[in-house]
């Protein structure tokens, strides 16, 4: 396994996901396969190849600083499971 169960638990935790034992087992296997596949890239000889910051050979994609109307609030909040006072409402956040 190129990725441990603990690592998968840690990642799930960062994403606020609760995994059952079966899911943990399943994702550990699947993620290991993915990591293995990605690791194959390390076998490629990159001698003399410049580090890549973007997969396309593009740079400086900018827009002008010109304001345009925003979306209606109703539309913006449409997907929110819970809303109140023109805001998305979420469970209390404790700092």
């Amino acid at each position: 396994m190129s990725i441990s169960k603990d690592e998968v638990k840690h990642i799930a935790n960062l994403s606020k996901l609760n995994l059952t034992d079966e899911e943990l087992e399943k994702y550990t296997n699947e993620l290991s396969d993915i990591v293995d596949m990605a690791n194959e890239l390390s076998n490629i000889d990159v001698e003399g190849v410049k580090p890549t910051a973007h997969i396309l050979d593009i740079q400086n994609v900018f827009r002008e600083d010109i304001q345009q109307p925003s979306y209606d609030r109703e539309l913006i909040l449409k997907n929110a499971p819970s809303k109140d006072a023109g805001c998305v409402s979420v469970p209390k956040v404790v700092e």
């Binding site: 960062l14 910051a53 973007h54 400086n60 900018f62 819970s82 805001c87 956040v93």
Partner: protein, 477 residues
Amino acid sequence: MKDYEVIIGLEVHAELSTNTKMYCNCSTEFGADPNTHCCPICTGMPGVLPVLNKKVVEYATKAGLATNCEISRFSKQDRKNYFYPDLPKAYQTSQYDLPLCIGGHLDINVNGEQKRIGITRIHIEEDAGKLIHDAYTGDTLVDMNRCAVPLIEIVSEPDIRSADEAVAYMQTLKSILEYLDVCDCKMQEGSLRCDVNLSVRPRGQKEFGTRTETKNLNSFKAIHNSIEFEIKRQIEEVENGGKIYQETRRWDDAKGIGYAMRTKEDAHDYRYFPEPDLAPIVLSEEYIQNLKDNLPEMPHIKKERYMKDFDLPEYDADILTSSIKTAKFFEEANDICNNPKAVSNWIMGDFTRMLNEKEIEIDESKVTAQNLAELISLIDKGTISSKIAKQVFEDMFETGENAKDIVEKKGLVQMSDEGAIKEIVQKVVDANPQSIADYKAGKDRAIGFLVGQIMKETKGKANPQIVNKLLLEIINK
């Protein structure tokens, strides 16, 4: 107790004063109704494509040039991943290993001594939304208007050694950003704020102590007081054999105390990776040189020019140039009345006191530069006395009327008619034989009393030079 050295580094966040957000065309205006400046891009809907605002690069580059940074010819943006309701994308677009500006410095003045503070880097990133805690339901409400408002984060080297130095650094930085016109620097609105990294170590010790980070300080007072608090706390902890934990802290400005935030151990696992939706930023020599050539005059240069061109004392020049608004006001008024020292005195004296009392800035005052210049011209021409001018200025400040109208309406024109003044002087002298006797017996103070009586008779309008001259003539006869 041992002698301790304090090590401070600041991370300053400045919201850039662009019209639109970092990656979409929504407005950046402060104070709008919740969630009315939002679109699918800034609220992190799937499948959208962000495009970087050109002005963000320009403003950040200017800030870098003005703080003596090296501008990166090649930089890129990265995703900083964390899960929190104020961040709908669940990542903040920021810059990690290739920031826009690297390695600059700022010179600050503390108690008359100059000190250089290093700047590690300046990078561009987006702001997060605002969380409102609903006391009624106990829920948290999310306002996404501020999501993706562009910021620069200016990271200093750990060169700061006291609360005073930290405040001076922040003031200098604020002044520069205002001169550049890249940030409105309204600290009370959060458009300029900082995080303080602080540690202590016994003087002479080589290794740094463990540092803490106090987040989101948005006034000079909060910066100063939170630092003093944290220095004391850390030293007491160490003195008592305790341990300093590397932690994130909050400052409660109302209570004047700092406290540790409850954070999970994995809170800082940001898993940065290059932002695949945004292209690298490549700046040409020409682009950088052009911005460099067109930078406005910076505060310290302006200060020296004021001392040289206007023959102003360093103290005056320092105060006048510390804010671009004050400097502009000064220059505009002086262009009209051509009396720099008088303009300076007014701005530094009564005017500033009254602005402070009202808690407004100079450009929010009803008194325009032209109004002040006219008032000064009236004094210079001898139309009103300086004493009356103070009264007129109070009216100008309250009503916004111009000086001439107030003087005419209230009949405050100075009496310079020698014949008329002489009559009053004679009357006062005749009525106060005791004072004349005192004066002749060598009590110079008696003169002051007599002048006071004369001014009272003329309701302060008599030209004081003429009064003095005539009074001495009459009693020395």
